[in-house]
Amino acid sequence: MRRWIRKGWAWCLGNPLLASGTFLFALCLLLAVLVPVCAPYSYAEQNAGFRNAGSSVSHLFGTDKFGRDIFVRVWYGAGISLLVGMGSCLICGVTGTLWGSVAGYRGGRLDMLLMRIADVIDAVPSLLYVILIMLAFEANAGSVVLGICISGWTGLARVVRGEIQRLKMQEFCTAARLAGARTGRILCAHLLPNAAGPIIVNLTFLAPKAIFTEAFLSFVGVGIAAPAASLGTLIQDARSQMLLYPSQMLYPILVLCVLLLSLHLIGEGVERRVAGRKKTR
């Protein structure tokens, strides 16, 4: 275990993109977990005597038009964003890997059928499906994840299929088959670890996409319902007072951008590592 951590550490340090991205992401994760737990206010607690206050020691980012503490609300929203990002990454990752490896390994008719299904799902912008799902089901984080996962896995499935098709022709795979290994074992122990690089790259770019989708939906007004708050809702709520109190809008924007940028940095860093582009620019 310690060796793994040290290895991962060295992996990060050699790559400034990955290192800075990981640092920012860890910071966001830490604050999103700790702030709602440790803060003296809850995200929904209203304080009528303390509306639209500026930054102070007791309210770091000030308060909104209902006297709710923006610092707590922003990090609570960031937590929801992270939850949505990780949840959809996990589900899409499993679905896409399974789908792609079955299609790539079996080939033939089944491959055709599976990939045509992916094409059909992919042909329409996923946001349209997601919005309809949000309207039809309850407006909570679960529906957002469900909506994102309906089409989010197709890109990964394609990547996995391509990798498996490439790998299954190689000699180590034939050797494993001749040695009598079962299909599941060949896939899990031999093929997928070799395809791990592209899979990880794809997943790291999936997370910011999911977070963006959630924020976008909440901003448009079909996202997470009140009193729960996400970064998109916070931005939308502050929009009506944008001219008087721009800081109420700027803080959630800042956190959202830092979160997305950190994930993009990680994605670019991992991509470079995997592609073996040694020259750091």
């Binding site: 329409v124 912008p125 039809a136 809008m249 951008c257 993009h264 940095l265």
Partner: protein, 306 residues
């Protein structure tokens, strides 16, 4: 080529059918009646639902909807009396299409140029700053960018108009905020494609036979490197249409995106359904055209499909 065209056409039509079906049943699943609320008694609501054909069995409603769709009839708006969905689309589409088209052109132009610059520049600072730019461009959501631009340029500096499209300058901010993300993606795609091309033999060959560097890049490498960019135009269209939801609401542009957001707020189910289907048609159409174009330009795509 014919085989490939048929295949793509079939996939497109199937995708459209799936979208229509899913959208229809999802809108029927939405909680509550569209005519609830106000002082309407239950009898009145029931009567109105009867008049709109909502009391019939679901499969018959579905059949009617599909039949009308084939005739190009998307139904009437539930919340705007006497307005058909087609009229709404007819009014909103020109503004959305124009802004989207301008954004695509801007993104393709600047993305290609920046990508070439990033791939071929010998100066580290140039490459680094363009890379940083693509990172920011891809990371900042379009609605955030639109809000920041409206706040900065429109309200604080008072340089550009931030509402409506009545004057040409009104296009600048919406087009810019929509174009940034596609520009970043195209720059990255272009740069990667060119870097791959740089290592190929034909570039060496062209140089060896005495072709100027500029001619090698423009005449030979760009032709190959542009294919991935062309491939991206389809997803870009999807991004611009959905991106217009937020950007049009922020800059109060009378387009489809704003209609969509308003119809969500009003729970105007037929309008939501109609706009979803229409946008699906547009995106599937753009995807089809770019795919066919790619196949026409690049025989390898056609052969791979057999």
């Amino acid at each position: 080529m014919l085989r490939y065209t048929c295949k793509r056409l079939a996939t497109g039509l199937l995708a459209l059918y799936v979208l229509v079906t899913a959208a229809f049943f999802l809108t029927r699943m939405m909680p509550g009646s569209p005519f609830q609320g106000g002082d309407a008694t239950e009898a009145v609501t029931a009567a109105v639902e009867e008049a709109y054909g909502l009391k019939e069995p679901l499969w018959r409603q579905y059949g009617t909807y599909l039949g009308n769709l084939l005739k190009g009839d998307l139904g009437i708006s539930y919340k705007k009396p006497g307005v058909t969905v087609r009229q709404v689309i007819g009014r909103g589409w020109p503004a959305t299409a124009l802004v989207g088209f301008l954004a695509v052109v801007t993104a393709a132009l600047f993305g290609t140029l920046l990508g070439i610059w990033q791939a071929l520049s010998k100066r580290r600072t140039v490459r680094g700053s363009i890379f940083l730019g693509t990172l920011l461009g891809a990371g900042i959501p379009n609605f955030v960018l639109a809000l920041l631009l409206a706040l900065g340029f429109g309200v604080k500096l008072k340089l550009l108009p931030i509402a409506g499209l009545t004057e040409p300058a009104g296009y600048i901010l919406p087009v810019f905020s929509l174009a940034v993300y596609p520009t970043a993606v195209i720059t990255k795609t272009m740069c990667h494609a060119l870097e791959d091309e740089l290592e190929k033999e034909y570039v060496k060959m062209a140089r060896a036979k005495g072709l100027k560097w500029r001619r090698t890049v423009v005449g030979h490498m760009l032709k190959n490197a542009w294919i991935p960019v062309l491939n991206y135009i389809g997803p870009a269209a999807a991004f611009l249409l959905t991106g217009s939801f937020a950007v049009e609401s922020i800059f109060t542009i009378p387009g489809l995106g704003r209609e969509f957001v308003n119809s969500i707020a009003n729970r105007d189910y037929t309008l939501i359904l109609g706009l979803t289907v229409f946008m699906g048609v547009v995106v599937i159409g753009v995807n089809l055209v770019t795919d066919l174009l790619c196949a026409w330009l690049n025989p390898a795509v056609r052969r791979a499909c057999r």
